[in-house]
Amino acid sequence: MEISNKLNPQNWVAKYSDELFGFAYIRVSDEETARDLIQDTFLSALRNQESFKGEISEKNWLYLILKNKIIDRYRKNAKSPLTRIDNEETTDEFFDESGHWKKEALPSTFSQAVNNQQHSFEFYEILERCKKKLNEIQLNLFSMKFLDEIDSDEICKELEISSSNYWVLIHRIKLKIRKCIEKLLYEK
């Protein structure tokens, strides 16, 4: 039971589970899934202890395993027929035929100051709600691009989409999220 290479699996839950859970949760938007990912991460880690060489900290090593699990999940989701990319949107909710803003979609100033100086809890609560309005493929893309900051070539490869598809999707996600934040800030 004693491990030669400084891993302390007994303490993993106490030391890292909350942090890892938070990391997973903002990427998958579902507590159950995030919980399962953490359990899987710990189990994989336990079964692959020999791959831990002590070059990075135990914590970073666990993060690495979790990140891989999350990427696997993105990949799997992208392949599922239920979440095939719906690129052909029949009606554009933001722009008219000539490419101008539709009246109801015109951006307006955020009704409350949002700044990045202080971690505004309200903003993240709003962001959380807005993220839930995205469909599965949009959610994957959102996480990969904005949270994991993976570059577009990599994302296109992982999800097997073309570069122009990618930008159309990212464009729409951005428009949607911005609009939703504006709306929820106003309602606060």
Binding site: Q10, F21, E31, F42, F95, S98, G99, N116, S120
Partner: protein
């Protein structure tokens, strides 16, 4: 990188401008696309606002840390799975 913009025209639509605005955070736009976006943003207050808010959103998202924690029940369950595996 292929953009939706026509290579010849200087004036672009709001749809094209917001696309360029989103793209420029990640890729280097061509000189002509940068000019097109610049000119559009000069004359269009809505896209200017979009551009500004979009940057702010990017920044805030990258600083996002969830304050969610795992329930004690889940923790105990995972702990016992680990213990079992260790035996």
């Amino acid at each position: 990188m292929k953009n939706n913009t026509n290579t010849k025209k200087l004036m672009i639509t709001c749809k094209e401008a917001t696309m360029l605005s989103v793209q420029k955070s990640e890729i280097n736009l061509s000189f002509s696309d940068r000019m097109r976006l610049f000119i559009h943003l000069l004359v269009c207050q809505y896209c200017r606002l979009f551009d500004k808010q979009s940057k702010l959103i990017d920044k805030l998202i990258s600083n996002w840390k969830a304050d969610k924690t795992l329930s004690d029940i889940d923790k105990n369950q995972i702990q016992s799975i680990i213990e079992k595996e260790l035996k």
